[in-house]
Amino acid sequence: MTFVVVATEPAEPGEPTAELPYDGPVTVLDRLLGQLGALKVPDVRIVTRPEAAQVLRKNGHEVIESPDLAADLREIAALAAGSAEFFLAHADVVISDELLTRLVRDKTTTAITAKQAASGTRPAVRVAKRRVVSAGSRFHQVTDPGAVFRGVLKVTDPAALAAACEELAGLALADVPPVRVLGLRDETLDVFVDSDARDEFDRRVPEHDVLGRTAPGGDDAVALALVGLVRSGVRVTARNVDVLVCERVLTPAEAAAAREAVDAVDEDRVRLDAAVKSNDGFFTTYFVSSYSKYIARWCARLRLTPNMVTCISMAIAVIAAVWFAEGTRTGLVLGAILLYVSFVFDCVDGQVARYTRSFSTLGAWLDATFDRAKEYVAYAGLAVGYGVTHSGDVWGLACAVIILQTCRHMVDFSFAVHKGTVPPAPIRRVPLDAPDDAALDPLPKAAAVRRGGLGMVAVRVSAALEKVPGARWGKKIIILPIGERFALIGLTAAFFDAKVTFLALLLWGGVAAGYTLSGRILRSIV
């Protein structure tokens, strides 16, 4: 793991921006190096201009001298060539701990971006579906950009970076205006007007009064490295800064403003919010996740591991099943309440894992397996309880429910394997010496491949439904996800009896199976 810090920007002649004061005697660079040390990044290199080297050395930094932009790129290429995981950042970047930690843990090539208009020291980028589609520099134009690059980059394919930087270093490039307008995106940056690329859903970042206003002009090897990667067909993920901070600072006023911005964010809170899965179902989102993250934080403070929480959840579900098996009204109501509590802890285990960043293979398996076990133990408890208090027997219904539910899951699993066999569309390449990214422009309508048939209708209807308010939740609720299932089991058992529970599960589950199967079959035959 190599982290290269580029300190080529001068605040004053001979004074790099990296040495701007951040907090008393601590400079912006000191802070960044401290953060990298805390993250146990083993190999940190500083690239700077010969005239700034003296100042940096005096402050105790080891530096690599590089006279100009082409030499910067060659230096980056040489350092990247020998590493497995490579990071590139401006030395004058002020970044939140949380954001840097996330980037270090990212598994793919990732650039930190923000959804806003290009200005000052922020090179323009165009992002679609969380991928950097086009990246800009002084020498490379971006068509209809909707975001900016904030100067920190993680590369998991350093060989591609080395090749691109070598090539860029050998080119004679001329300055171009940063933005080209084709009208692909509306003025709010929020929607693509004419493109089949669905826009990113990231929050728009407000413009800061002080930060990022400085006119561009300095050498920006980091932006060029991003251009090189994107244009040579490497998939670069855009990580939106969201509420966190990642800004280049070129003046003392900007350094002070950046520090203020960093201090204004409650990073623990941000981490806790991020611990909640974003694509959960309706019941989970509104009746569990709204408060379960506080239980997760409490568990983390008690030093409970995610696996312990999973086991607690399982144990509660077993007790719930025992109450269900008693069969009386009291038993059913208590069982329903306990089943809900068990489900809350089921959500908490994942949140503790994400909050404390402790993931394990065993934990993932335990979580998934116990989810199934909890549900099927509850069915068994209900069936036993019904036999105790009624003359009939509902084991047949219980068997039907377990078969239906398992087969529904098998359809999901099997379809997921099938989806994985469809290769992703190749990324179009753009020559590194082309001033603009016209090679990425959408093909004229006539040349576009005609797609039709029932399958496309299904895809279109599904996409159109996304725009109808409430339809997004409706689509999630109809498939009877785990939260809705647990709620349905609990409510029907508490107010009626096991027979009603099983019949309700069969009915709703049957509708869900019909809905998903028909949709997926149609999508498969497109």
Binding site: R235, F359, T361, L362, W365, A383, C399, S414, T421, P481
Partner: protein, 210 residues
């Protein structure tokens, strides 16, 4: 880049085949057919046959129901070596599951096996099939002997049918539930406990419909 991260097509085929959970007989028929027979149409026919046979068999003296596994094997077995790369071939494993579970449940109920025992056997099988999915997703494939010793869907259905002919269905269901429960449970828990804590990989095994 993308080719390095996307699993190879053979892996996907192997995954769908593991989801099928074929036993020795089905695999033998598949080897004879050498992967030339497409899997989807026969398995759909097999599903219809199973439903029809069970409908007749349950009301009658039961013999037609015992023939279902044989008919099923002849239809579904030969396709077990097919790469399952057709557009709708992902439907095959769930349909096989529906047939297997449905057959065992209906046969068990009609032969007077205690109802809770039928549910228990289903729960054991369900555990094995979820476990197979979760493990292949994490690259911790169950060894081949587990699938062999687990009898496969074909073996389990044949055992149930034979037990019904020999008039020992309850014994067979109890023996299968116990044997398979110990086999699948022991082997899987042992493997999972052996896996070391992995370094920060976010794995989401619960892919719900959507």
């Amino acid at each position: 880049m993308s080719t390095a991260t996307a699993p190879a097509a053979e892996d996907k085929t192997a995954q769908l085949r593991a989801y099928r959970d074929d036993g020795a007989v089905s695999r033998g028929l598949g080897t004879l057919a050498a992967g030339h027979l497409p899997p989807l149409l026969p398995v759909l026919v097999a599903a219809v046959v199973t439903v029809a046979v069970l409908a007749i068999g349950v009301t009658d003296d039961g013999l037609p129901a015992l023939l279902a596994p044989v008919a099923l094997l002849l239809l579904t077995g030969p396709a077990s070596t097919h790469p399952h790369d057709g557009r709708l071939d992902w439907l095959v494993p769930p349909v096989i599951r529906a047939i297997e579970y449905g057959y065992l449940a209906v046969l068990g109920f009609s032969q007077g096996v205690p109802h809770w025992l039928v549910y228990t056997l289903l729960a054991v099988l369900v555990y094995h099939h979820y476990d197979t999915v979760y493990r292949t997703r994490q690259g911790l494939w169950p060894p081949d002997w587990v699938f062999q010793a687990g009898l496969g869907w074909d073996g389990r259905m044949l055992v149930a049918a034979l037990a019904a002919i020999l008039n020992i269905p309850t014994f067979a269901y109890a023996a299968m539930a116990l044997y398979l429960g110990v086999l699948f449970g022991w082997e899987s828990v042992r493997t999972w406990l052996e896996t070391e804590r992995s370094s920060g990989v976010i794995v989401d095994l619960e892919e719900e419909a959507g």
